[in-house]
């Protein structure tokens, strides 16, 4: 059976919160997965006391496990692919026509 990397929706009405899970393709969305490899909070947030108006989204991800599951043939869904491609685990699936280069990645703190 196909193993997928996908999102499982939790949270409440109008306040989604996703687990990034590895699960068999034909199991129910929120059933117990093979493994939870991260979370995705899709609601953009501001830093407290930040007046610049910049928004950020928080994602927790075990990159090693994600790479492992992709190595053994797990198939990310489109949304999961997008997230994994942001950290460079996968190439972008739908590179946008307008921008040639990938979004800028900065590893802060390890400079």
């Amino acid at each position: 059976m196909v193993v997928k990397i996908r999102l499982a929706r939790f949270g409440r009405t109008n306040a989604p919160f996703y687990n990034i899970v590895v699960a068999h393709a034909r199991t129910a969305r929120n059933s117990r997965p093979l493994e939870v490899i991260g979370t995705y909070d899709p609601i953009p947030r501001k830093d407290p006391y930040d007046t610049s108006g910049k928004l950020h989204k928080d994602i927790k991800l075990d990159t090693l496990r994600a790479q492992y599951w992709i190595g053994v043939g797990a198939q990310p869904t489109d949304t999961a692919w997008r997230l994994l491609s942001l950290v460079g685990i996968l190439p972008p699936k739908y590179p946008r026509a307008g921008s040639q280069q990938a979004p800028s990645t900065t590893q802060s703190g390890t400079a």
């Binding site: 006391y49 950020h56 075990d62």
Partner: protein
């Protein structure tokens, strides 16, 4: 079964002790309340009914004048006689009801700082003035004094010092940005609320408060030999294994060390300098811990900038889920745990804002 007597409380001991303290005589039936500038009753009753009262003429000019009942007449008299409480703009010092209007029956003391004439246990205590806030801020941010030392110097609670500094930083930033601040409001609050100017050796509030733990509110009978040296630490242990002695619960335990040194003969300036050094050291320890936590989190984080949002990927270990795979600290929304959202009286709003 609680005692069914009037005034029988849940804490008979405290009730007894507090009843010994002077209670207001208003608990007796029919206390004598009197207006200080008392006017003969004929003056108010002879008021022509056709004229609307002056105080309400502005707002109620379109309505017919309210019927002047006895209580309304009393009300209008009260407004006339307490006109000094009305003009908040021209008042230059705290002005409360107790001191200005209410005179009680014989022999009772009404204090200046009692906003509620019935409650002598609540006083309008002073707040730090704008000058004091500025000074505390400059001592901490410009002088580099440790917060505990500033707190001990001016006898201001440590938490208050941090709050003052935190808000002054915002104030300074807004001033730099040219944001309009509420100067007019602040000035009139400075007149209406009692102010305290910090000076060394002037007490503002107790700085070594201990919260009274509920375990220590019971009476204990601990049989022990008369020769035993039974200290505070022993007493704490008698109340419970997890109850800490006061030395460990004080906010500024360094002060005790300083006093001990002074009692042993160390000159006070030297002991004071050592106190400041100890306070600085303890603060630096906490700061280093916080910094290390923030640094390690930053090292785990990858920031990806897109057109609209910044995505922050935090590296985690998905296998730290505990022996049964159901650890509370495991990543993600937990499986197999019912969402108690719809249960009655469940708190659905945030319990903390970080």
């Amino acid at each position: 079964m609680p005692p069914r007597i009037p005034g029988g409380g849940c804490r008979p001991q405290q009730l007894l002790t507090s009843l010994e303290a002077p209670t207001p005589s208003c608990t007796l039936p029919a206390p004598a309340l009197a207006l200080r500038p008392r006017q003969p009753p004929t003056a108010s009753s002879s008021r022509p009914l056709s004229t609307t009262p002056r105080c309400s003429s502005k707002t109620e000019s379109t309505k017919p004048p309210p019927q002047l009942t006895r209580v309304r007449r009393k009300f209008l008299d009260f407004l006339e006689h307490s006109s000094m409480l009305r003009k908040s703009k021209v008042l230059k010092e705290p002005t409360y009801l107790s001191n200005n209007v209410v005179t009680r029956s014989e022999g009772e003391v009404v204090q200046r700082d009692m906003p509620f004439p019935n409650n002598p246990y609540f006083r309008s205590q002073s707040v730090l003035s704008a000058v004091s806030r500025e000074r505390v801020w400059s001592e901490v941010m410009e002088g580099g004094m440790p917060i505990k030392a500033v707190a001990a110097k001016y006898s201001v609670d440590v938490r208050r010092v941090t709050a003052v500094v935190r808000m002054m930083e915002i104030e300074k930033r807004w001033e730099r940005e040219g944001k309009p601040l509420a100067y007019a409001y602040a000035r009139s609050m400075g007149h209406l609320v009692p102010q305290h100017n910090v000076r060394a050796e002037s007490k503002f509030e107790p700085i070594n408060d201990l919260h009274v733990h509920s375990h220590t509110m019971q009476q204990l009978f601990v049989p022990t030999s008369e020769s035993r040296h039974f200290t505070r630490a022993d007493a704490a242990r008698a109340f419970g294994e997890h109850i800490l002695p006061p030395e460990a619960r004080m906010r500024i335990p360094e002060l005790v060390d300083m006093e001990r040194k002074i009692a042993q003969g160390v000159p006070p300036p030297v002991a004071g300098a050592e106190f400041i050094a100890a306070a600085r050291e303890s603060e630096q320890e906490i700061a280093a811990r916080n910094f290390e936590r923030a640094r390690s989190k930053e090292a785990r984080t990858v920031r990806v900038q897109t057109d609209r949002f910044e995505f922050r990927f935090e590296k985690i270990d998905s296998e730290a889920v505990g022996p049964k795979g159901r650890s509370r600290t495991a990543v993600g929304w937990r499986y197999g745990v019912p969402l108690m959202d719809r249960r009655r009286a469940e708190v659905k709003i945030p319990t903390s804002m970080d």
